[in-house]
């Protein structure tokens, strides 16, 4: 029975849309509302395609990484710093500008 389901999924994925054509929708979903038809295309495709399921979860991961990076800024947690030369240079330029 499980075997039959797998075969059906495989057949369906050959007959339905290509990953290449559906993949833009996975991106659009982050920036706008998908239409009903687009949502159906996404759901049907993800039902049959494990690779695209992974693609979608990778996109979610990336979205969360950038979100976490912004949260770090909000919490004033930073990883880079101005070199001491740059600090000296900027201070001098500020003084020069003000005099």
């Amino acid at each position: 029975m499980a075997n039959l389901k797998a075969k059906f999924k495989m057949w369906l994925s050959m007959k339905t849309e290509e990953c290449k054509n559906v993949s833009p929708l996975f991106s659009y979903a982050y920036d706008r509302k998908l239409s009903l038809l687009e949502k159906m295309r996404v759901r049907l495709h993800l039902y049959t395609c494990g690779a695209c399921l992974n693609y979608v979860s990778n996109l979610k991961f990336m979205h969360e990484v950038f979100h976490a990076q912004e949260e770090d800024f909000e919490n004033e947690k930073i990883n880079d710093s101005l070199s001491s030369e740059a600090k000296t240079r900027i201070k001098e330029n500020l003084k020069a500008q003000n005099s």
């Binding site: 994925s13 990778n58 990336m62 800024f73 930073i78 880079d80 101005l82 201070k91 330029n93 003000n98």
Partner: protein, 202 residues
Amino acid sequence: MQVQTAENKTTFDATVWVDAHGDFLYSFAFSRVRDQWLAEDLVQETLLAAMQSSNSFAEKSSERTWLCGILKHKIIDHFRKNSREVELSDEEADLSSYDYLFREEGVWKGHWTAAARPIVWEENPEKVLEHTEFRGILTHCLGELPERVANCFTLREMDGFAAPEICRILGISPNNFWVMMHRARLHLRRCIDFNWFREGHK
């Protein structure tokens, strides 16, 4: 901070900002522009502008928030100027360089090739940022994109601007916007996958 009109006091304040907020402003700018010199320039421009308008600083926000607000404007101005100087090339809104990710023929035409097939990423998105090497990969991968495409992605994913606003800043059509975002995600996903998850850094 008390704002004084006396010149010597203003000078003092401005250089103190470099030590108090310089690293923060630099980190923020660097995450957006990925270039050390440019990020340093933006910090300096921000502090100069702040110095000249220090009476616009309201006590209700923190000094750092105020400075960061000025920096954000400077970064967007930079993106805007940059977009005006460079004509939109076909290459930026063209996806054909990613055709290699998908099979070209057979019953599985248009499906992922074996090499490009996405895998499960077993990592915590918050924890992974603690690795200097991972952050370096993010910077590197964003830097591989054409500049306007990377800026488009940054404005959306880091600053959270909506599509119409981004189109105005970068001078692109809504259609360009959708293509650029998809392109950026296709590329970043592939690049992070290749450099971090398949290289055995875990």
